[in-house]
């Protein structure tokens, strides 16, 4: 078997036994990148040289040091890596080299990971297709006419195409789970506050979370063990004990109550997605879980509330790109003109559009009508979930109403693009953990994602249910056939 196909836990086993070396594994992944990256375009920066140097220096003791020692992992390019360019796929940060390390990559580093590269995204993580990148379009490895989803489209495509062993992404409204669903891999958004955001370039601070994108559920739990926990550098990270997320893997789901929210099986849903998700629910029932119909009546307002809150926070967060301290500067006759010109040249269309919308929502006279109203609706959405999760252990839904769409299909109409996140966004508003795992293929051969949602800080039930389902099916072993002709 080609080494680049290995998942994280398999690769680690082989490394620990001395069957392979970190350098062999790194070279296998770099070789894979060389042969398919031209067609996929998952990366903004490939750190091959540093990766080989680090892998080559590892002693047998180093390899045994941690659960990631010697394993090549890709990082979304909105997570700061000291000394390595971090661009957010934006012209305004095209040459930005962070002087400090994010908490998550520092933790991965302490566990001995090998950074293989920084992955493509929608500019500042604003988008659902990776089409808003100022660097390149990433293609879906299952169909080169289609998008990989977004905004962590580069990370999801890199994992699906075996261009890394595992990856990190970030999720503000579905940006880990939606691309994972589109690319047929596992994407996990932790409870808000579970993982430090220090060094994650801020988009919407009350919604952003970093999480893993992996080839299977076990790998996701292993990476969560490495990145979770309170961080004094992020005052919104939770002072909660961190369990061993792998300990619930393999437990029976007999008697587990699985909520099925009728509102998530929306009109106009793709019929193949509906069938795959219904089959997955039946499969969980055959494993002993008890499906329970539930209602989340305010979920239909989630997209509207989200696009006020997320754009308001973004318009404020992105005020820092002023051409003074870092990033691009375009000279002007005075200070205000310098700001205006810098931001005109530095930001792409979607970022400008969201800054305008957020500025409007926060502007004098509109604040109560939009921002406060959206915060109140956020309360209602959160309460819906709290009520439902008193009756059930987890909630199961499709991750997206349809499989990956075609490149260019939704770029003309921002609202249609926003609505692709209709089933993932409410979790960010409620702060809840959720996973997307593969649960089928459409007749055209496109992956379908199953979303499993848990209670606040009960990631373990999510992993338990996801692992039980995954291990009883073969969907997680399906990989896209990347034909030589396509490459």
């Amino acid at each position: 078997m080609e080494l680049y196909k290995l998942g994280l836990s398999e690769a680690k086993k082989a490394l620990d036994k001395g069957e392979i070396t970190p350098l062999e594994l790194t070279d296998a992944v770099l070789g894979r990148i060389e042969s398919v990256e031209g067609a996929i375009g998952a990366y903004i920066t490939i750190t091959g040289e540093q990766a080989r140097a680090r892998a080559g220096k590892m002693s047998p003791e180093d390899i045994k040091k941690g659960p990631l020692s010697g394993v090549p992992i890709a990082i979304k390019d909105n997570i700061c890596t000291a000394g390595i360019k971090t661009t957010c796929a934006s012209a305004i940060l095209k040459d930005f080299v962070p002087p400090y390390e994010s908490t998550v990559t520092r933790k991965l580093d302490e566990q001995g990971y090998i950074l293989i590269g920084k992955t493509n995204l929608d500019e500042f993580a604003m988008g659902s297709s990776t089409e808003n990148s100022s660097v390149r379009q990433t293609m879906n490895p299952w169909d080169f006419q289609r998008v990989p989803g977004g905004s962590s489209g580069g990370s999801a495509a890199a994992v699906a195409a075996d261009e890394c062993i595992a990856a990190l992404g970030s999720d503000t409204g579905g940006s880990i789970r939606q691309p994972a669903a589109f690319c047929g891999v596992v994407g996990f958004k932790p409870t808000y506050g579970r993982v430090s955001r220090y060094g994650l370039v801020a988009f919407a601070s009350s919604l952003d979370q970093i999480g893993p994108i992996t080839k299977n559920v076990r790998d996701s739990a292993i990476l969560m063990n490495c990145i979770a926990g309170h961080d004094p550098a992020d005052s919104t990270s939770a002072r909660m004990d961190v369990p061993d997320f792998t300990s619930s893997l393999g437990a029976e789901i007999k008697g587990m109550k699985v909520g099925i929210p009728k509102e998530f099986f929306v009109d106009g849903m793709d019929s193949a997605v509906r069938e795959a998700v219904e089959a997955a629910i039946n499969q969980m029932e055959s494993l002993g879980a008890e499906p329970v119909e539930i209602s989340l009546p305010h979920s239909q307002y989630a997209v509207a509330a989200y696009y006020i809150l997320a754009t308001s926070e973004a318009s404020s967060n992105l005020a820092r790109y002023d051409g003074v301290r870092y990033g691009l500067r375009v000279e002007g006759d005075d200070l205000v003109e310098m700001y205006q010109k810098t931001r005109k040249v530095g930001f792409g269309s979607e970022v400008k559009r969201r800054i305008i919308l957020g500025t409007y929502a926060l502007s004098s006279g509109y604040y109560d009508a939009y921002y406060k109203k959206a915060q109140q609706v956020r309360t209602l959405i959160r309460q819906d979930f709290e009520e439902a999760l008193k009756k059930v252990d987890v909630i199961v839904t499709p991750t997206t109403p349809a499989p990956a769409f075609r490149v260019g299909e939704k770029t003309e109409d921002p609202l249609q693009m926003y609505l692709t996140d209709i089933l993932t966004i409410s979790l960010n508003l409620a702060g809840l953990p959720g996973i997307s795992i593969p649960c089928g293929l459409t007749p055209e051969g496109l992956p379908v994602g199953l979303q499993i949602i848990g209670r606040s800080f009960d990631e373990e039930s999510v992993f338990k249910a996801a692992y039980a389902y995954e291990q009883s099916t073969e969907w997680h072993m399906k990989r896209p056939l990347i034909k030589a002709a396509q490459v």
């Binding site: 506050g193 003074v324 002007g332 200070l335 205000v336 559009r353 800054i355 109203k373």
Partner: protein
């Protein structure tokens, strides 16, 4: 919506075609967002943040931080350890 006013508030210079495009697109999104008005939220507390945290305090201790020259290494223009900007006071 007064797009010129919003662009100034956001310190964004927009082209004429961007002004026309963004006005219609943002208005379209706002029309969709107006569906929030179907809900009576008069007595509902707003959620600013999902965790029950308000002020987070720490001990006021001196700790090492980024050296000045490293903090300045990404500055488009710097002089004598300071950021340079166009003159703002005559």
């Amino acid at each position: 919506m007064n797009i010129d006013h919003l662009a100034l508030l956001a310190r964004l210079e927009l082209t004429d075609s961007e002004k026309i495009l963004f006005s219609s697109q943002v208005e379209n999104v706002i029309t969709y967002i107006d569906k929030l008005n179907e809900l009576d939220t008069g007595s509902i507390e707003p959620t600013a943040h999902i965790l029950p945290v308000s002020n987070v305090f720490r001990e006021d201790e001196l700790k090492p931080s980024l050296p000045r020259e490293i903090a300045l290494q990404n500055a488009p223009e710097e002089q004598d350890g300071l950021y340079c900007v166009p003159k703002i006071i005559e």
